[in-house]
Amino acid sequence: MPLNGSQSHQDFDATLNWKLSPDVAIRPEQFGALAYHYGNRRLVFLKSKDLVQLVQDLANYESASAAIAATIAPNNQQSYVAALARLALSEVLVVS
């Protein structure tokens, strides 16, 4: 279920089973990717290739935390939680 706009990304629950929304198309670019949401028509930038990979891998893990733990270096994990939280806010990610 998508989060609504009144929630801040502090409310992001990384223990849930987040995945890429079926309404979102990803266009790879040198810097990462563009993500376009056909429902809310928002264009969001995925600002690194690692983030693109993470977003696409999410569905293979039981939770966002598990995906980050398995694929992102420990020093960077916190910033990726924040990046996923922002993507959840813009409904690029949904809980399956």
């Binding site: 040198q30 810097f31 264009l43 690194s48």
Partner: protein, 372 residues
Amino acid sequence: MSPEPSLRDRFKLGLDAPICLTWELTYACNLACVHCLSSSGRRDPRELSTAEAKRIIDEMVEMQIFYVNIGGGEPMVRTDFFELLEYATEKNVGVKFSTNGTRITADNAEYLAGLGYLDIQISLDGADATTNDHVRGEGSYAAALAAMEHLMAAKFGEFKISVVVTRHNAAQLDAFQALADHYGAQLRLTRLRPSGRGVDVWDELHPTAQQQRDLYTWLLDHPQTLTGDSFFHLNALGDPIDGLNLCGAGRVVCLIDPIGDVYACPFVIHDEFLAGNVRNEGGFAAVWRESELFRELREPGSAGACTSCGSYDACQGGCMAAKFFTGLPLDGPDPECVLGHGEAALKAQKVAIIPRPLGDHSKPVRVSVASH
């Protein structure tokens, strides 16, 4: 590695496909706005056919261009307009089209409300008929408001009211917002450019320095306002306005004109900024990816005369089109530089050599809506 390096610097190098593609479908128009960017009026006999237009939409699908901004001229005067609209939206290419509203009858509003994945921008350049019609022609205010009534009655949803900010309407921003609120619409404000016929009215219509400062404050106070990223030259005044804040010409933005010519942005319809034509081999993708002009625009530029200015990082030297059509060097200040450097540069011009826009499609005599 941080997941957030500077996106602006990446965008300056260009993307595999544009983020913001504008497509002027026709130079034909039933109005004759004095500031028209594309000097529209008469249809160009070389206009792309329906089949050619559909091929461009196919290319958008392949290039994952998620949406296209359609304009003109008045796009609704094309007899295949609805056909192209359906073709695009069925292929998940979202359409946002700009119209003067004259063709949005009650029936057309019903039809448009039934199409998914569609945005409409009604152009309005004054919050009252006198201010608007001075720029857009007699009867155009009433026609635009009638279109809005029809869209509201048809429950189209949130359309956009698109305003070019001028010296005459800069004090009406609250009134535009009230109008938008009344119709459940979103307000979009964009910058007047000295492009197309705009070159002839620039001196009369471009906002004063004080109006620019007021506009900047107003935009910060109304962050929900859409701007098409067109006011980044104001960022030298302080905190940046929301947006990418760079000149996207040939990097993330371009224009396809009615005859398939591809220009660096909608505001530079001039040979100097012509990158190629979609009718040539390789189509639009080849122009976007291989044109020499776009390659040059994606190279790191020098700040030129702005190098010593502490605000260059904020304003990026402003708008290329505004400089070009006022005769200023492209690596110098914007003519509306909020620190006054543009004004000084304009005064210092010994003889202003102003490039004239090419391809004038203006009708010989201005017409009013009522006569149609």
